[in-house]
C-alpha cells in the first residue's frame, strides 16, 4: 500500500507538531537550563524538516508528471483470498489478545494455529495434529521451562480446579 508522498509527509508533519505541542507541558527545573523537553523538541524539528521535504518533493513530482493515485494498493490485494490471508496475520494476533486471558493459552493457541493451517489449506488431520503438538511444545518450553506466566484461563481452571 503506497501512500502518496505528499500525504505521507503531511502525516509525519502532524506527528512532529503533536510532539512539539506535547513537550510544551514538560517541566523545567530551576537552575537547570536544559530539561526533559530539549531532546524530543530537537527530534520533533528533525521529523518536521524531513516530512516537509518529502511532502514538497511529492507535490513537485505530481505537478510534473500529472499526479498519481493518492493511495496505490498492490495488485495482489485484488485477489480476495490473498487479502484475507494478509489480514489474518494482524487479526490472528488480535484474536489471541482478546481470547487468551479468558480461555487460557492452550485453547487460544490451538485455535489460532488450527484456524490458520486450515485457511492455508493444510489437510485437516495434519493441521489439527501439528496445532496440538506445537501448542504443547510452546506451553512446555515457555510455560514450564522458562516459567513465563502464560495465561491459564478457563481451561487450566477446569483441569486443576482453580
Amino acid at each position: 500500500m503506497r501512500v502518496h508522498d505528499t500525504l505521507l509527509g503531511l502525516f509525519f508533519a502532524a506527528l512532529a507538531v503533536a510532539i512539539l505541542i506535547l513537550t510544551a507541558d514538560f517541566p523545567s527545573f530551576p537552575g537547570q537550563k536544559y530539561g526533559p523537553s530539549l531532546f524530543p523538541r530537537i527530534l520533533g524539528v528533525g521529523i518536521l524538516v524531513c516530512a516537509v521535504v518529502i511532502a514538497w518533493r511529492g507535490w513537485r513530482e505530481s505537478r510534473r508528471t500529472g499526479g498519481r493515485r493518492i493511495v496505490a494498493v498492490d495488485a495482489a490485494f485484488a485477489d480476495p483470498g490473498k487479502l484475507a490471508s494478509f489480514l489474518l496475520v494482524p487479526a490472528g494476533v488480535g484474536f489471541y489478545l482478546l481470547a487468551a486471558d479468558r480461555l487460557g493459552f492452550i485453547p487460544t493457541a490451538f485455535a489460532l494455529l488450527a484456524g490458520l493451517f486450515l485457511w492455508f489449506r493444510v489437510r485437516p488431520l495434519p493441521a489439527l495434529a501439528i496445532a496440538a503438538l506445537t501448542t504443547g511444545l510452546m506451553q512446555w518450553f515457555f510455560g514450564t521451562l522458562m516459567r513465563v506466566p502464560l495465561p491459564r484461563g478457563l481451561f487450566m481452571q477446569l483441569i486443576h480446579g482453580g
Binding site: G35, P36, K82, Y96, F120, V122, T135, M138, V148
Partner: protein, 496 residues
C-alpha cells in the same frame, strides 16, 4: 589477561553452553535456508529464548545462529533462485546460473568453504581491533560518545541505498519512540498519557519482533502457495574443484573478506550491503567481467566471503562503543543492556572473560559451519520441502509468545502488533526500518551523552569540539551531514 582467556574457555566449553550453540546452529541453518526468513528474523526470534539464559550462552546462541543463517541463505539461492536471506541476494542469479550449468556442487562447496574462511577473517580482525580500540575508548567522555552516536546513526543512512530523507525520518521517529517513558536525566515521564505500561518505555524486543518478523510474515502469507522445485535432486561431491578455484581466486577471497569486515564495522551496514559491494568490486576488477552473470564463480567467491566476514566486523563497534554495526548487532546491544552489561570499553576491563568468550564462540561457530553446513546441503532437498503454510502460523505464534514473555503481559503483544503493521507500512512506502531500530536502541545513549555534554558545556556548542578526538569525530560528522545535504540538494537544483 591469560587468566581471563582461561576463564573464557571454561565459560564456553561447558556442556550446557555447547548444547545451546549446537541447537542455535541448527536453528540458524534452518531459518537461513528458508526463503523469506532472514538472519535478522532468526536473531529476533532467538531473543525471547536467550532472555532467560546467562550472558555467554545467550550471546553464543546469537553469534552462532547468525553466522549459520548467512551461509545457509546461499543454499536456496543456488537451488531455487531464491535467496534464503537478503545477504545472498547479490549473487543469487549467478549461483542459479551455475546450477543450471551443472555446477551446483562446486557452487555450494565454494559457498560453504569461503563462508567459513571469510567468517574467520572477520573474527580475526574483531579479535585484533576490538581490545586496542577499547583502550582508546576508555578515555572517551560524553562529547566523544555524542559524536560517535551521531556519526554511527548518520553512517547508517549514508550507506544505505534508499532515500536519505526517508532514512533520517525513520531514524528521528525511532529516537522519538525511545523518548517514551521516564526521561533519563530528570526522571520525568514523557509521552506516557498516564499509561503505566508506557511509563516503562517502549520495550525494544517486541518492537523488533514486530518490525522484523511480523511484517515479514504479512508479506510471506501473500505468496504462501508459491514453492520452487530444486534444479537437481541429488547433490554430488562438494569439494571437487575447490583447490583450483582457491588458487585462481585467492585475491578475491582476501579482498572480499577485507571489504566485508570493513562494511560490517561501519555502523548501519551489514552482510547484505557487503555482498552487493563485493560482487560489484569483483566484476569491476575482474579480467573477464563479461563472464559475470553467466554462472561464473569469481564474484561468488568474493561476495560469499564478504557477507560472512561482515558478521564479525559488525561486532567491533557494538562491543567497543555500544554502537551497532548492523540490525543484528542492534539486537545484540539490546540483549547486552537487558543482561545489565552495558556495552562499551568498560566491559573489556570489568568482564574481559565475556569478551574472550564471544571471540571463542565466533571461532567455534565458524568451524562448526563446515560439518553442519555440509549436512545442511546434503539434506537441503528435505529442508526446502517444508511447506510455508505450516511454517508461517507457527512463527506467528512464536512471535506472540516471545513478545508476551518480554513484558509478562499483553503489552508486549500489543507493541509487536502495532510495530508489525507500522513496519510493513514503512517498507511499502520506501521508508527503511533499520534506522528506526537503531534510533530506538541508541536513543538513550545519544540523549544521555547530549544532555551531559550540554550541561557540562553550559550550552556552549564549541566545547563539543575542544577535546581532540571529539573534535575529529565532530568534524567528520558535520562533513558527512554537509555531503548528504549537498547530495540531496543537487538533483533538486537540476530539476529546476
Amino acid at each position: 589477561m591469560s587468566s581471563a582467556i582461561l576463564a573464557a574457555f571454561g565459560l564456553v566449553f561447558d556442556p550446557y553452553v555447547l548444547t545451546v550453540i549446537l541447537l542455535s546452529a541448527i536453528f540458524g541453518l534452518f531459518v537461513g535456508a528458508m526463503p523469506g526468513l532472514t538472519a535478522t528474523m532468526a536473531t529476533a526470534l532467538l531473543v525471547p529464548v536467550t532472555f532467560f539464559m546467562s550472558p555467554v550462552p545467550a550471546l553464543g546462541a546469537i553469534v552462532t545462529a547468525t553466522a549459520m543463517a548467512i551461509f545457509a541463505g546461499d543454499i536456496p539461492a543456488a537451488m531455487l533462485r531464491m535467496p534464503g536471506t537478503p545477504a545472498s541476494a547479490a549473487y543469487t542469479d549467478e549461483s542459479y546460473a551455475m546450477s543450471r550449468k551443472g555446477q551446483l556442487e562446486l557452487n555450494l562447496g565454494v559457498n560453504l568453504v569461503f563462508s567459513v574462511l571469510g567468517g574467520l577473517i572477520g573474527v580475526l580482525v574483531l579479535i585484533l581491533a576490538a581490545p586496542s580500540l577499547a583502550e582508546l575508548a576508555i578515555n572517551f567522555s560524553s562529547f566523544e560518545y555524542f559524536w560517535l552516536a551521531c556519526l554511527g546513526l548518520t553512517c547508517a543512512i549514508f550507506i544505505s541505498t534508499g532515500d536519505p530523507v526517508k532514512g533520517f525520518l525513520s531514524l528521528f521517529v525511532g529516537l522519538a519512540i525511545g523518548c517514551i517513558g521516564i526521561d533519563p536525566a530528570a526522571g520525568y515521564p514523557r509521552f506516557t498519557f498516564g499509561n503505566v505500561d508506557l511509563m516503562s518505555g517502549i520495550n525494544f524486543i517486541p518492537t523488533m519482533i514486530g518490525v522484523f518478523a511480523v511484517s515479514e510474515l504479512m508479506r510471506g502469507v501473500m505468496t504462501v502457495d508459491q514453492a520452487g522445485r530444486p534444479v537437481q535432486e541429488k547433490v554430488g561431491a562438494l569439494f571437487r574443484g575447490l583447490g583450483e578455484v582457491t588458487r585462481k581466486y585467492w585475491t578475491n577471497f582476501l579482498r572480499g573478506s577485507a571489504v566485508g569486515t570493513l562494511i560490517g564495522a561501519l555502523p548501519g551496514a551489514g552482510a547484505d550491503i557487503a555482498a552487493w559491494v563485493s560482487y560489484a568490486m569483483a566484476k569491476r576488477f575482474s579480467k573477464e567481467p563479461e563472464k559475470f552473470g553467466t554462472g561464473h564463480i569469481e564474484g561468488i567467491v568474493e561476495s560469499t566471503s564478504a557477507n560472512n566476514s561482515a558478521i564479525g566486523g559488525a561486532w567491533i563497534p557494538a562491543l567497543v562503543f555500544g554502537i551497532p554495526g548492523d540490525s543484528i548487532t542492534a539486537i545484540v546491544i539490546g540483549v547486552l543492556y537487558m543482561k545489565g552489561m552495558n556495552p562499551g570499553p568498560t566491559v573489556f576491563l570489568e568482564n574481559p572473560q565475556l569478551i574472550y568468550a564471544v571471540f571463542i564462540i565466533f571461532i567455534l561457530a565458524n568451524l562448526l559451519m563446515l560439518p553442519l553446513g555440509y549436512a545442511a546441503i546434503r539434506g537441503a532437498r528435505h529442508l526446502l520441502a517444508i511447506p510455508k503454510n505450516v511454517l508461517l502460523p507457527i512463527i506467528l505464534l512464536f512471535c506472540v509468545v516471545g513478545s508476551f514473555a518480554m513484558t509478562n503481559s499483553p503489552y508486549g503483544i500489543v507493541l509487536m502488533l502495532i510495530f508489525g503493521v507500522v513496519g510493513w507500512l514503512m517498507e511499502e512506502n520506501g521508508i527503511p526500518v533499520a534506522p528506526l531500530i537503531l534510533g530506538l536502541v541508541l536513543g538513550e545513549l545519544l540523549e544521555h551523552s547530549f544532555m551531559t555534554s550540554m550541561i557540562k558545556s553550559d550550552g556552549e556548542f564549541l566545547v563539543f569540539f575542544q577535546r581532540p578526538i571529539a573534535g575529529l569525530l565532530g568534524a567528520l560528522t558535520l562533513t558527512t551531514w554537509g555531503l548528504m545535504l549537498w547530495r540531496g540538494l543537487r538533483p533538486a537544483r537540476a530539476a529546476i
